[in-house]
Structure formats: C-alpha cells, structure tokens
Amino acid sequence: MKENIRNFIAETTFTEPEKISDEIMIFDEGIFDSMGLLGLINFLEEEFGVVTDDTELVEENFGNVQRIAAFVESKRVAVAG
C-alpha cells in the first residue's frame, strides 16, 4: 500500500519515488500543495475505496506516506468491522 501511495505522489509531482520516504512531510517539504491533497483524496477513494470525511482532513492522517497508509488501514478496518 505504501508503495502505491508513494508512486502516486511521485508520478503526480514528477519526483523520484526514492526521494519520498515514509516519514518525509509531503506538505511541509513542498512536495504537495492543496491540489495535491485534492488529488490524493480522489486517489484514496479510487484505489482503496476509502472516502475521507471532512473531519479526517488533518496532518495526522495526511502528513506523510506512513500516516496516509495508517489512515487507509484504519478506515478499512472500520468498514470491515
């Protein structure tokens, strides 16, 4: 899952995937901006079937690849449960 997310970020920003570590803060580092965030929300829905609620739009869920993957996982568990 992390690789999918990383590749999406890399492809949409013309960045080499190896430069996007799990921990790098994608917004603080200027890799993504507000359009990147909107694209990411679309991607999570299309790729993983995860719909992001307004209240979930926080740095704790979207700050880096690690957090995004954890967010997707938690949403899937919630749906499965």
Binding site: F27, D28, G30, F32, D33, S34, M35, G36, L37, L38, G39, I41, N42, D54, L57, V58, E59, F62
Partner: protein, 332 residues
C-alpha cells in the same frame, strides 16, 4: 560579527508616516514608467468601486492628470449593482472620463456561467442557477488543520437555506477555470481601450494579492504597471484617506465580486482581517521570530508559526502566477 539593526516589532511598524513623500515617489515613478519607459500617452483602469482601484485612480490622476486617465466599468451578470454606483462617485470625485463595458455577452460566449454551474450541479444536484446563489469558501476548521486548504461550494437556495459540500479536484478546478473568464475578459477589454488610446493598463492588486497569488494570471494580473503592488492593505487605506477617496468607498467591505453570492475577500481567500494579515506578513517577510510577533499580536507563538508556514506555502505555490512565460531555453 555584525548584527542587523531593526526596530522591535510593533502594531504600527508598517504605518506610513510620510504620506506626501510616499505618494510623490509612486507618482513620479508612474509618470516615468508610462511616459518615458513605455512611451504611452496615459492610463486605462478598470474601476470596481473598491478601495484598491480607487487609490490607483487617485495616484494615476495625480501623476498624469485627469484627462489622461480613463476609468472602465466592467460589470457582468453576477456583479453587485453597488459597484457601479461607487465607481461613478469615484470618477466624479477625481474628474476622469468613464466608459461602461458589460462583459456578460463575452462570458456567455465563453460559456463561463454554464461551465461553472455544470461543475456545481455535479456536487449539489439541486442547485438551480436561475434562482439560487453560490460561492466558494474555505471553512474555518479546515484552516486550522495545518494542511493546505481545501475549498467548499456553498449554495444559498431561494428559500434562504444553505448547503456546503467539499469540492473534489475536478469540480473545484472547473469552477475556478470558468470563473477566471471574468478577469480575463475584463483584461481583454482594458487592453482594447489602452491600445485604441495608446495608453497603459494600470493593474490594481495590492501587495497581499500579488504575493499570495490572489489574482488571475493574465486576468487582473495582466497589466503594465501596478502602483500599489508593493503596499499593504492598511497602507492602501492610509493613502485612500490622504488623497480624498470618498468615505463610502473606504468604508466598503472588500469583496471578491466573483460569485453570485456575496462574499468577503477574508472569507474567500485571506482568512484573517487585513490589519492582522499586514502585520503577520511583515513579521514573516522581515524575519521576526514567531515569539516576538506573538507577544505583540496577543496570540500564542505556535499559532504565529503556523501562520508563517501558511504564508511560505502560499508564496511557493503561487510562484507560477507571478512568473512570466519562461523563454530561457536552448538557443544560439
């Protein structure tokens, strides 16, 4: 080791204390740029009845004389009727000729309204553009989330009820792209008049609009000179008072005048009052610490650090808007 001497941060640190000198400096450069550098015979300004375009008129009249300044009113179907009233009061005060050019027909030709409304209907199917109004907003709770802002469309139905929905990427981009026909159609009309009269187009964005990217590239950002492009909004108000801009214009709340529903610039883009934003931006730009600014502004340093981060992000992500077409590619 040398240290940079600068005044301690304070609430009146950006207050202009020598207004005659400031005005003289701007007018002298305007005259030089338009008359000598660009060899044009005068100026054309789109006037909206807002304080920014009004101060530009006042400065340009002082620099070139009223007979060399044309004010162009550029209403369209969504414009507030108040804008025309205020613009005419301004024109009378400064003695300039005006012409009204309604750009609604051009916008209909571009399918501006249809393209925008199609996108709104995809997220709010019950939206009826003939009866309802809409605007694009950033909710306050989103601003505080530390992520880049995402936009919501708010539809105000005929019965007064409202519905807000977060805009997916495609719909947001389509609404913005369609709405930007407005500023670009106005720019086209301004250049018609400026070329027909062999004059310059005066751009009216202030420092925040330029630096934070609150303008449309090749729209209201399309101009030959921007006399207030380096002035904070509170400084624009100081000059407005100094040059006698009518009080009704000074007292008017700045709006985006872009979407059918009334919307302040603060609500649409800046998310804080001009007085606060001017000071925070100055503090950030001049390298004052978050702690020093926080002490003066009466907020926590963490909050100031977040504001500084947001400014930095905005400055970076809008560089595209301020950059002319890049042409330094291979050549011999």
């Amino acid at each position: 080791m040398s240290t940079i001497q600068r005044p301690p941060f304070s609430r009146d640190i950006i207050k202009l204390k020598n207004l005659d000198e400031v005005v003289e400096s701007i007018c002298s450069k305007l005259k030089q740029d338009i008359g000598k550098r660009f060899r044009r015979r005068g100026a054309v300004i789109g006037i909206s009845g807002g304080v920014d375009s009004s101060v530009c008129v006042a400065l340009t009249v002082k620099a070139l004389g009223a007979k060399n300044v044309l004010g162009v009113l550029l209403p369209e179907s969504d414009s507030s009727p108040e804008s025309k009233e205020y613009a005419l009061v301004l024109a009378k005060k400064f003695g300039i000729d005006t012409i009204e050019e309604n750009v609604s027909g051009a916008l209909e030709g571009f399918r501006c309204y249809t393209r925008r409304d199609e996108a709104v209907k995809r997220v709010v199917p019950e939206y009826n553009p003939q009866e309802d109004k809409m605007k694009v907003v950033i909710p306050e709770e989103i601003i505080k989330s530390n992520l880049p802002p995402v936009h919501y469309v708010t539809v105000i139905f005929k019965d007064g009820s409202e519905k807000s929905v977060r805009l997916p990427m495609n719909e947001y981009l389509q609404i913005v792209a369609a709405s930007n026909f407005k500023q670009r159609s106005r720019m086209t009309m301004l250049y018609y008049h400026s070329e027909a009269l062999h004059r310059c187009v005066i751009g009216t964005p202030n420092k925040h609009e330029v630096q934070q990217g609150f303008f449309v590239k090749h729209g209201d950002g399309g101009a030959d000179v921007m006399p207030i492009g380096n002035l904070y909004k509170t400084q624009v108000y100081q000059i407005a008072k100094h040059l006698g801009v009518p009080q009704m214009i000074i007292d008017r709340t700045p709006t985006s005048d872009t979407y059918p529903a009334e919307q302040t610039q603060e609500e649409f883009f800046f998310q804080m009052s001009f007085e606060e934003m001017d000071l925070f931006w100055y503090g950030w730009e001049k390298g004052y610490s978050a702690e020093e600014v926080a002490g003066v502004m009466g907020v926590e340093a963490d909050e100031v650090a977040g504001i500084f981060k947001n400014f930095e992000r905005k400055r970076q992500t809008t560089e595209f808007l301020r950059t002319p077409a890049v042409h330094e590619y291979y050549g011999v």
